[in-house]
Symmetry: C2
Subunit: 158 residues, 2 copies
DNA sequence: TCAATGTGATTGACACGTGAATCATGCGGC
DNA sequence: GCCGCATGATTCACGTGTCAATCACATTGA
């Protein structure tokens, strides 16, 4: 049997697919974020935080719990919360059980803003992302995503 | 025939595919960029600019020409060039034909840095992206990307 | 008790992105 | 020539991301 040498670099076709993929879906993300911003004055970060808080018991969470839940750096969350607090979307209050910690609480205004943003946002996802594909193709895309996740060993147990 | 009402929002499966896709490939991008940075001390922005300049006639380009080529906002490019110039990767010199313009010139150091970065970068693309998929699957991903590009009307002639 | 260490959270320095404003130069028509 | 507008490029203010440093409080063990 001949010696097999595995290519260590992509073929030009593979490289083209990589570049097209990353560039294209960067644009998709930007478009959907732009719609969110126009429709609801929310950034994707805002939305992510509001989504998590909306689903939380008592519409509130410990800051570090929130960071873990959405898988953000703590300092990133800190800045985000600061901006959102300035805009009145949430409140941070000292934590009774642990004086170091902070409870992040969704305000009524934050809840309202999130509620109002949901439908337009989902519509944007449908129009910009989902509608680009035939059903079969979307399923394949889901499978490819799954293959990537297992390649990267995401979804690994804690 | 019954009245057909087209869903205006994604099904939960479609939404899950969207979220998984965007999250997963965000991580892919971050990993490949991290490798580039570790291997070569270059950001993806640096790489993009160096790639364009390397391919340019005379290793130099007018600033606006460069911006158009890589499809960047002019102000974004301005900042990027400033940082890269400070690091000695390129030079900006006044333009003879048009005193408003600037010529961006790749320095020897910039050329060297780019050359050294190429192979490790391609390896990273292969290992992190390409190797995640079966060949058939990668082709499907390419087709899905194409579908998205035509959905967004990218690739439209100027 | 209290020093050592761990943990929750913020801060600071910087890289990077966008859009609006600015500034200088080119250029067409009078 | 020169006024007005177009164009090349940078600057500014701000949002957003990272990492390292910091600070306050908690916990633990001699």
């Amino acid at each position: 049997m001949g010696t097999m040498k595995r290519r260590s670099v992509p073929t030009s076709e593979e490289l083209a697919i990589w570049r097209a993929h990353i560039e294209t879906f960067e644009i998709v993300r930007a478009r959907i974020e732009a719609r969110l911003h126009q429709d609801s004055q929310l950034s994707s970060g805002d939305y992510r935080v509001l989504l998590a808080l909306s689903e939380a018991d008592g519409k509130s969470m410990r800051s570090s719990e929130l960071a873990a839940h959405i898988q953000w750096e703590r300092s990133r969350l800190s800045g985000q919360l600061g901006r959102m607090e300035r805009r009145g979307l949430l409140r941070r209050e000292p934590c009774a059980e642990d004086a170091r910690g902070a409870n992040v609480v969704l305000t009524d205004e934050g809840a309202r803003a999130f509620r109002a943003s949901t439908l337009p946002h989902l519509r944007a996802v449908k129009e910009v992302f989902v509608d680009a594909f035939a059903p079969e193709q979307l399923a394949q895309l889901g499978e490819a995503t799954g293959a990537m996740r297992s390649h990267l060993n995401l979804d690994a147990r804690p």
